[in-house]
């Protein structure tokens, strides 16, 4: 029957296309349905707070220094001794990100020594003027209870819940290549996400001894 198969060869494409009718669709109805993004997704930045409400940012400007696109502007200031804003000696007095220049490489997340700047799953950030794309500290910093802010909270496209998840890249890069640190929690919990577990690591085990408590997210 091989001659028959040869004869059908040119028409096999018709069968392939017709077969697709029964397959599930690969496209989704975007603004109505949203793709589930992976943990490490690089989305909009947030500035985190500690569980006690103090800011994590200590104004060290490492993020601004490492940024290949030079899109971060930080100016630190000394903490007022009576009412410290951050845990350290200084805090980020001005913190701005020009989202028009940001390339979402997440080097700032890797650079931040206090896990103050992390990335979330929100990427719908279109604006109608250039000014709105410059995110100030007010837009970036989460509330003391962990609720994130967004400059256009009412936009239909935006699911603000996506701002509440994230930090995957910070967790993923924390071991910095050391197998010994895989599965070790190396960060302090933040008000936005609570305590986060480490990734499973190469041994398949999560080392939870440092995290202290179970995560809820």
């Amino acid at each position: 029957m091989s001659w028959f198969a040869d004869l059908l060869g040119p028409f096999r494409g018709f069968a392939v296309t017709l077969r697709q009718v029964t397959r599930p669709r690969v496209t989704i109805k975007y603004p109505d349905e949203k793709r589930v993004k992976p943990d490490r997704f690089h989305g909009r930045h947030v500035l985190n707070r500690n569980l006690d409400g103090t800011e994590k940012c200590i104004g060290c400007e490492l993020c601004a220094g490492v940024c290949p696109a030079k899109c971060i502007y930080v100016r630190g200031a000394d903490n007022p001794p009576d009412n410290p804003v951050s845990e350290g000696e200084r805090y980020g007095f001005v913190y701005e990100i020009n989202m028009l220049r940001c390339i979402f490489c997440a080097l700032c997340v890797e650079a931040c020594p206090t896990e103050a700047i992390t990335m979330t799953h929100l990427f719908e950030m279109s604006t109608t003027n250039r000014d709105d794309a410059i995110y100030t500290k007010d837009d970036l910093l989460v509330e003391p209870d962990g609720t994130p802010n967004h400059p256009q909270p009412d936009s239909k496209l935006i699911d603000l819940n996506e701002l509440k998840i994230g930090d995957g890249w910070m967790r993923a890069t924390s071991p910095s290549g050391r197998a010994a640190y895989a599965g070790v929690v190396q960060w302090t919990p933040s008000a936005r996400t609570g305590a986060l577990p480490a990734e499973r690591g190469q041994s398949g085990q999560v080392n939870d001894e440092d995290s202290g408590e179970e995560t809820d997210g």
């Binding site: 899109c71 701005e96 028009l100 000014d131 410059i134």
Partner: protein
């Protein structure tokens, strides 16, 4: 230095050969430096003895060093599985390297690119015009004395004196 490379550089007294190896690999390649007078002759000779695959040609601006421009030719011998990087140095005044488009057709675009971005002249090239930059561009951007230029990044607090 293996036999093929020895044959390659043998007619050229002034050629210097340096053996380098790739990262995380045992494979090696040869960096050869020749005077500019031997440039076309070397290319021809290399083509004859088997380095017939043209891979790359580019220039480097060393700026602070005496012969300022370095033009490097990257050739491959697929039969011998050898790679050579042939370089020559030319000074700022008279940064001219004779074209090798007669030996390797593929050098055409690459010499145009080197001319366009670093201002090295290739006399004899059939169509030495700018290739990446606009025709009316002034200067050669990859030269070290070419100003990088800067676009100020807009920030809300950036201009305000806080």
């Amino acid at each position: 230095m293996n036999e093929l490379i020895a044959t390659l550089v043998e007619p050229f007294d002034a050629a210097e050969v340096e053996l380098r190896s790739y990262a995380s690999s045992e494979t090696t390649y040869h960096a050869i430096t020749i005077p500019v007078s031997d440039w076309v002759g070397f290319a021809l000779h290399a083509h004859e003895i088997g380095f017939d695959t043209f891979i790359d040609l580019f220039a480097v601006d060393h700026f602070t060093e005496a012969p300022r421009f370095e033009v490097t030719l990257n050739l491959l011998s697929m039969t011998a599985k050898e790679r050579i990087l042939v370089s020559t140095r030319v000074p700022y005044d008279g940064a001219t390297v004779p074209t090798i488009t007669d030996v390797f057709q593929g050098a055409n675009f690459y010499e145009r690119e080197a001319y366009d971005l670093l201002g090295v002249d290739f006399p004899g090239h059939p169509d030495l015009t700018r290739i990446l930059m606009p025709d009316d561009w002034v200067g050669h951007p990859l030269r070290k004395d070419y100003d990088i230029g800067e676009v100020p990044v807009e920030f809300k607090a950036g201009s305000a004196d806080l």
